[in-house]
Amino acid sequence: MFTKKQLFTRGMLDISPHMLSVIPFGIICGAIGVELGFHPYLVYTMSFIIFGGASQIVFLQLLSGGASSLVAVASVGIINSRHLLYGAVLSEYLEKLSFLKKLLISYVVVDQGFAESNKFFKKNRNEEFLHYHLIGTGCTMWVCWQIATLSGIVLGSFVPEELGLKFAIPLTFIAIVVQDLKKLDHVIVMITCGLSSLLFFDAPFKSYVIISPIIALFVAALLLRLKK
């Protein structure tokens, strides 16, 4: 059995390699916001209130492009709707928590934290304080994201665009799924999702982010049926 502190630390350690891509991305996020002409306070407020990387950039780009704020808000909601899937997976491990704790822990559920904590949960199902791992990954992400976006706001256009640091984002997610390439069913699901995302990239409100996972999960359900 791990103690709460051990689990929290383990969560921090498990997510910290991803900061290699999260921090540059956060800096870019902050810099883009200021560059698009938004007040630095507003740009930072987003990191606190929305706390969701890509959706923050899309939000500001839409508004600065003259889109209605309704469209910007809807796009953020749709991009972030993937959290519903993470929540469905995590609910199994968090069901013993009180309602209030569930409400609090939800704020720090992020892509990389979900991915790393889910891997840990699968291997350590019977631990009593599993949720401390999720708190560890989430809080690490939160602190780094606040610092990174703030630095981006301060540095502004000082961040050289030629470095193409945005490319670190697909790389961090490659690192998450790459071991599942060993399993043919997972490969099929990944390719389905990836191709769908390219096919539906121009769908309104950035809805490819949730359309393609739904298609891929349908394919997964079919594969499970075939396996039987």
């Binding site: 390699p17 290699l20 938004f38 507003l42 987003m46 929305i50 706390f51 969701g52 959706s55 939000f59 704020s69 808000v73 953020v76 909601g77 972030n80 709707s81 959290h83 519903l84 899937l85 993470y86 929540g87 469905a88 997976v89 995590l90 609910s91 199994e92 069901e95 939800s106 704020y107 030629e162 470095l163 193409g164 945005k166 490319f167 670190a168 697909p170 790389l171 997610f173 490659i174 690192a175 998450i176 799924v177 790459v178 071991q179 599942d180 390439l181 069913d185 997972h186 999702c193 990836g194 191709l195 769908s196 995302s197 390219l198 121009d202 490819y208 393609s212 891929a216 999960l217 997964a220």
Partner: protein, 103 residues
């Protein structure tokens, strides 16, 4: 005005995070659904990976000789064998920069 939109977007985002964790309990999901949910990482992350590689900042497809394709391939190979997140990200970025700045 913008602040109000940010707050709405934040509330919406929080709801996407909270809904399934706080309002669903295990008995509501059948075994079949749980088996499908095993695939969530493989079904979600490629929707971030593929556009991040194959579509550029202007929303159009990249060329076949784009350095991002090479960088992603190197990252997949290094990641697969090293099982190391830092090595995966670094190898991808370095091979991408190598092509941009050296060749």
């Amino acid at each position: 005005m913008t602040l109000a939109a940010i707050i709405f977007a934040g509330i919406l985002t929080y709801f996407t995070r909270m809904t399934m964790i706080a309002l669903i309990n295990r008995d509501m999901l059948g075994d079949k659904i749980k088996a499908v949910l095993e695939y969530v990482p493989s079904a979600v992350f490629p929707a971030i990976i593929f556009p991040g590689i194959f579509i550029n900042d202007f929303g159009t497809f990249i060329e076949i000789n784009d350095p991002k394709i090479f960088g992603a391939l190197v990252a997949v190979i290094v990641g697969y064998f090293s099982k190391n997140v830092i090595a995966t990200i670094f190898s991808g970025l370095l091979s991408y920069w190598l092509i941009i700045f050296v060749f």
